[in-house]
Subunit: 188 residues, 2 copies
Amino acid sequence: MALSTSDDAGRYHHGDLRRALLDAGARLLRAGGVDAVTLREAARAAGVSHNAPYRHFVSREALLAAVSAEGFRDLRRRLEAADGGPKANAIGLGHIYLRFAAEERPHFLLMFGGVIDKADFPDLAEAAAAALAVLDRAVSGGGAESAAAETLRAWALVHGLAHLVAERQITPETARAVLGEEPRPPFR
Amino acid sequence: MALSTSDDAGRYHHGDLRRALLDAGARLLRAGGVDAVTLREAARAAGVSHNAPYRHFVSREALLAAVSAEGFRDLRRRLEAADGGPKANAIGLGHIYLRFAAEERPHFLLMFGGVIDKADFPDLAEAAAAALAVLDRAVSGGGAESAAAETLRAWALVHGLAHLVAERQITPETARAVLGEEPRPPFR
DNA sequence: ACCTGAACACCGTTCAAGT
DNA sequence: ACCTGAACACCGTTCAAGT
């Protein structure tokens, strides 16, 4: 009550311009790919002047990095929801990964497009690492030899399949078939 | 003699503006990534007016598609040079693939970035298919069951590793270690 | 602190001409 | 056929103000 008064909500045009810009960015990304994500269009969607976004993002790249980070958090959530559930195994997580690439193709391409340098955006780097850590735990069992050859092999296979799907070089069905449906052993 | 007189060579400013634009595009790509490839800059590099390129490429995307197609032809050449030689096996080709991703990172990201729709550029689609056919032959042995599960699995693994290298998520050395050094059996 | 409006240097793309 | 120059509608980014 003390912190969320109607006064607070009215401090910005939208209560939270950053949130509005992020949502607009995700919408533009889904609608037209990375190139369609522009600061000016996001500002327009949020109903503010074309350079109000600079109060929240230092550059267009920073907005893209933030949208990408949200994608990694979404991926992580999906992986964690499956983990511990009926799909608590490496193959199951592989299928989640494939599904994410198919359902959120523009996000996937942004997240793994190699265009945004994670070194410049610590929040993005952290979100990416957190999502991939879920995969790592599932494959290596959380042992000391984390990120070992087995994990990398499994990750590379799934990632390669996901990317080939995103590029429309293979169909999602084909990818699923290659990955296999059996719950165990992991990935192969 | 009849066709390649000095008269012909002087028909364009560069003898071959298309070639000059393609070279400029590749140079810009290597120097600054996909975003740095612009029709106006390519025109500037070729010493022509900003809209002379439209005589050879219908759009910026068409230039990018052509540069991408050249990348696929380069990749194919590398794969074929290794094929039949001392590395005439699937693992060997996998290493060539990895090397291409590391050495020509910007090209690799453009070629497999999912931004250019191959359906719109038949020449690009053909160049890509030709390069991947070399891999397919090496893995499936050219049998009738081309592009079978084994080929896809091998391709996805190598492609995933290559892409993770391009994204700087893993080092080229790690990728090589995961792929393995032994000449046989293929990939695993 | 947060937002606006004008301005600058770029783009891709189109059009009317020039040779 | 091939190229030029002007023009239009976009960008990202910066700056000087306004509240």
